[in-house]
C-alpha cells in the first residue's frame, strides 16, 4: 500500500510546521531545562560552571532530584495543585456544558454572537479581572481562601472549556435525537445515552485545556489565595525569582511537565478505551 508521493509531500507540508514549532518551543526548552536541572546553582543566580572545577560545586549532579524525592513537602504541593486543578476542571465542565449545549442548539444566526460573548472577557487582561474578583470577594470575607482561588481559576479558564465543547456539540446530527425519542427515550436518557457519549472528545480536550494551565498557575493563588494556597507554579516562581536557584526551579518545572504528560497519557488511554467503536 504505497502512498503516492504527492500525498506524502502534502502530509509533511501540513504536519511539518506544527512539528517544527513543537520541536523548537517545547522539546528544545525541555531539554535545556533537563540539563539545567542536573547542574549546581551559580553563586549569584544562573548556573554553576558545567566544567568540573576542584573545590567548587560545578559539573553535573543529581542533588536537585535527591532534594525532591528526599522530602515529602514538594510532593505535597504537587498533590495539592492536582486537587485544585481537578476541582477547577470539574467545576468548569459542570458550568460550561449547559451553556455550550445552549449555544449549539440555538439558531445558527445567534451562535456566532453568543460565542463572541464567551470570548469577550479576553479583551481585558486577566490580571485586571482577577483584581476585580478581589474587590468582589473582599467584603464577603471570602478573599484569601481556597474557595477564592478556585473561583478565580474557574472564571479565567471557563471559555477554554466552553469553546471545545461547543465545537463538538454543534456537529451532532439532530436526527439522532429524533431517533432516540422515537425509540422511547426521555430527555434525560437522550442526553445521557446519545449526546454525552458523543461529546466525550470535546469534554476531554476542554478538560486538558483547563487542567494543564491551572496546574502551573501562580498569579491567581498569589492574589486570591490565603496562607495555605501555594501551588507548584508559586514554588517554581519562587525558585527562579526569589532564590535565584535555577537548577532547582528547572527540576520542579520538569517534574510538572512529566506529571502533566503522565496524566494526559492516562487520559488519552482511558478515552481510547472508553470511545465507542468506530
Amino acid at each position: 500500500m504505497a502512498v503516492p508521493r504527492a500525498e506524502r509531500v502534502t502530509k509533511w507540508l501540513i504536519a511539518g510546521p506544527p512539528l517544527a514549532f513543537l520541536l523548537a518551543f517545547f522539546l528544545l526548552p525541555s531539554l535545556i531545562m533537563a540539563l539545567a536541572s542536573l547542574r549546581y546553582p551559580g553563586e549569584f543566580g544562573g548556573l554553576a560552571p558545567l566544567a568540573a572545577r576542584p573545590g567548587e560545586e560545578s559539573g553535573l549532579t543529581l542533588e536537585n532530584y535527591a532534594l525532591f524525592f528526599g522530602d515529602w513537602v514538594y510532593a505535597q504541593i504537587f498533590a495539592k495543585s492536582l486537587v485544585i486543578a481537578a476541582l477547577t476542571t470539574f467545576a468548569c465542565l459542570v458550568l460550561a456544558y449547559p451553556l455550550a449545549l445552549l449555544i449549539a442548539r440555538s439558531p445558527k444566526k445567534r451562535r456566532d454572537f453568543m460565542v463572541l460573548l464567551v470570548i469577550l472577557p479576553f479583551a481585558s487582561n486577566f490580571l485586571v479581572r482577577v483584581y476585580a474578583w478581589m474587590i468582589i470577594l473582599g467584603p464577603m470575607d471570602l478573599l484569601f481562601t481556597r474557595f477564592a482561588v478556585i473561583v478565580g481559576m474557574v472564571y479565567v479558564h471557563l471559555p477554554f472549556m466552553i469553546l471545545p465543547l461547543y465545537t463538538n456539540l454543534e456537529k451532532h446530527d439532530p436526527t439522532l435525537l429524533d431517533a432516540a425519542q422515537d425509540l422511547g427515550a426521555n430527555a434525560w436518557h437522550t442526553f445521557w445515552r446519545v449526546t454525552f457519549p458523543l461529546s466525550l472528545p470535546g469534554v476531554f480536550s476542554g478538560s486538558a485545556l483547563v487542567f494543564i494551565p491551572v496546574l502551573g498557575m501562580f498569579a491567581i493563588p498569589e492574589l486570591l489565595g490565603g496562607k495555605d494556597d501555594w501551588m507548584v507554579g508559586n514554588m517554581i516562581k519562587e525558585a527562579f525569582l526569589g532564590t535565584r536557584d535555577w537548577p532547582f526551579g528547572s527540576m520542579l518545572s520538569l517534574m510538572l511537565t512529566l506529571a502533566v504528560l503522565a496524566i494526559a497519557g492516562a487520559a488519552a488511554l482511558f478515552a481510547r478505551r472508553g470511545a465507542p467503536n468506530e
Binding site: P41, G42, E43, F44, G45, G46, L67, D71, V73, Y74, Q76, I77, K80, M134, G138, P139, D141, L143, F144, E222, L223, G225, G226, K227, D228, W230, N234, M235, E238, A239, F240, L241, G242, T243, R244, D245, F248
Partner: protein, 358 residues
Amino acid sequence: MDALRALRGLAFAALLAGGGAQAQQDRLHVYNWNNYITEDTAERFEQTCRCRLVQDYYADNEEMLAKLAAGASGYDILVPTGDAVATLIRQGALRPLDRARLPNLANLKPEFLKLWFDPANRYSVPYAYSVTLLGYNEQKMRELGIPTDTWAAIFEPKYLERLRGKVTVLDSQRELMAAALIYLGFAAYDTDAAHWKQARELILRAKPYWAAFNAASYIKELTVGNIWLAHGYSNDMHTARQDALKAGRKFTIGYSTPKEGAVFAVDNLVMHKSGRRPDLAYRFMNFLLEPESSAALSNAIGAGSPNAAAMRLIRPEIAENRAIFPGPEQLAKMQQLHELTRAERRLLNRMWIEIKVR
C-alpha cells in the same frame, strides 16, 4: 476605504519619523522600583539634560538580580537595596564612582554614608530608605487592645486570637524571617541554622491566625478595612494612610516601628557596567541628590530621605513621623539585611516551602 488606508500610511510614517527622532535623542536607562522617581522630577531632569529617561521596573531586589543574571543589560542606573549592592559589587557588575563628578554628595547625612555593604561609597550613594514595620487599623487595634509597638502583635497567639484572618505578613522569605529573628532577639541578618529553625517554629505557630502572605495588595486591603494589621513597608503604609483619609473611611491607618527593632532598607544609586551612558548617569545621580528631588520623593510616597539638605523641604507631618524618619535611639536598633550564600538561600527556601505547606 481609501481614507482608512491613507490614515494607516500616515500613522506608519509618523511611527518611522518618531523612531528616527528618538534614536537621535540621548537616552538614560534606569532599572528602578516602581514609582520611585516622581514624575515631576523625571520631567525636570529630561528638560535640563535634553535627554529621555527610560525606566524599567522591578518589585524586589531578588527579581532585579534574577533578571540581570538572566542577561538583562543596557541599564545605566540601578536602585538596589544594600544587600543587593553587596552582591553586585562581588559580581564585579558595578562601575566605580568618580566622587568629583557628584558634588551633591555633600548634601547627604553622614550616618547614611559608609554603610556595611560599601564602606567607602566607591560604588553606591544612598537614595532613599524604608523601614519594614507594622501598619494597622487604629480603631480596631484600640478596641481589641492590641499593642502596636511590638512584633508580638503578629507572632503571639494571645493577640492573634482576636485578629484571626485579619492579619497579613509579607510574602518575602527574607523579610518575614527577619521579623521573626528580631522578635526572638537575634539579628535580622543572622544565618545560624538553629536560629532560623526557631524563627520557623515561631512563624508556624502564628500562621494559622494569618489571612495571607501578601506583598501585592495589603495597601488596598488595609484601606478598605478587610485587613486590620499588616507587616509591610513604611512607604506603603504611608500610602495606605493617605488613601484611607482621602476615601473618608471611618477608621484611620497608623504605622509604627516595633520596639524590638526592624529591617531598615537603604536603596542606593549605582551604575551598572552594561550602561552605555555613564556621562548622563553622573548627571542624573547628582540631580537626584539635589534637595528638591529627594524631598519630592519623600513628600510623594513617604520614603525616608538620607538627604540632610532636603529636610527643610519635606512636609512636617512626614519629616516628623518617627516611623519614616526614625530618631537616633530607634536608628540604633535598625538592622539591614545581608546577602546570603547559595547554600543559605537553598536552606531558607526549603524552610519557606515548609512554612507555606504546613
